[in-house]
Assembly symmetry: C2
DNA sequence: CACCTTCTTGGTCGATCGTCCAATACGATT
DNA sequence: AATCGTATTGGACGATCGACCAAGAAGGTG
């Protein structure tokens, strides 16, 4: 019947606060998340927030990064799991269509992009996450024979995030329908004609 | 020495409030814009805000729509001014590189996307703006011989907004560098191989 | 047991918020 | 000059905010 230790309870509270922050950022927006709403959602008293985190912004920053990292790592793993580069891009786009642009994960990412323009710390962490994924995708495209893997990877990533943005306005849009148009990016480039 | 009439002063105040809202949304974020900050930026007393506008949200909504409409109409005019479809897309991408993703216009648009997910009125107005531009771009691509003009237009627009998002993290990214990869969208589609 | 560290409570502080309103100012109209 | 409608002022209302802190509770260790 040994209850949780002090350290375990502390970790639990921090995890609940991070989860509550990820939910609330998506629901009401980064700037609307307050310590008291966070505490209520996490089931703790509001005074605890500033015990476990240096500031509200530090909490939101950590919540955003920890929420985005598994998304990008999962997407990178999905690329490796595909049989070939065209299948990898196809699978990536199908995966994108599991998001509506207005779901918690999508909104967390977009909110984080905006917060990053006003928070140099967050911007550096997000740039690192995006650079890692771009390098991963770019390496795959280079192995497929492209001479411009960086540009192709940039286009695919921009198309994905932009489509999520547009899907939040119009749910009829679909990433999978763009697959035929992006498929040629996974084939060896053949000069200016391509 | 005839001074401005009452009606002229009213229009002037409304215009200053709209301009102040567009600036502040970009600077500090949609949810952080307050009536008192707006009044200070517009050079008026804070009580006036609720005389000219029904609510703060109504003011922000109108400011966002009025800020985005000229951007999209200008881009549509740019498409028509180009000599041919490939040139139009090329010019569009070059125009995008005039924005950094962290400039006032870009931030206003991205903030509006997020606000639209929580404001049905704003979402409908933005969807109409985007639909109009997509139809314009799609018609041009159809004239260029594509059998999938809607998908091609969706891809181009998603790539543009997504790249702006990514440029806010990494200023080295460039829309113009993606032009060679998008150029083939302006040529007649030739079946599954393309 | 006493002692230490970590965690939690409950509350205060000054500041800011959106909205509303009575009183006033001012151009236009009669 | 008297009147009307619009524009503006200055302040009020209750609510919420981020941050902070003294006091106490709880588990670990001597």
């Amino acid at each position: 019947m040994a209850g949780p230790t002090n350290a375990e309870r502390g970790r639990e509270v921090r995890a609940r606060l991070i989860a509550a922050a990820q939910e609330l950022i998506a629901e009401i927006g980064w700037n609307a998340v307050s310590t008291r709403l966070l505490a209520e959602r996490a089931g703790i008293r509001s005074g605890l927030v500033h015990y476990h985190f240096e500031s509200l912004q530090a909490l939101l920053r950590q919540a955003a990064v920890e929420g985005m990292r598994p998304l990008l790592e999962g997407a990178a793993a999905g690329l490796d799991a595909a049989p070939d580069p065209p299948g990898a891009v196809e699978a990536l786009l199908v995966e994108v269509d599991r998001y509506t642009g207005a779901d918690p994960a999508s909104l967390l990412v977009i909110e984080a992009y905006l917060a990053a323009t006003r928070d140099p710390d967050l911007r550096d962490r997000m740039r690192e996450l995006m650079d890692d994924f771009r390098a991963h995708l770019s390496a795959m495209l280079a192995r497929a024979g492209r001479t411009d893997p960086e540009e192709a990877a940039t286009l695919i990533m921009a198309a994905i995030d932009g489509l999520l943005l547009h899907k939040s306005l119009d749910a009829r849009l679909s990433a999978a329908r763009l697959a035929p148009l992006l498929r040629h990016l996974t084939r060896p480039s053949n000069g200016a004609a391509q």
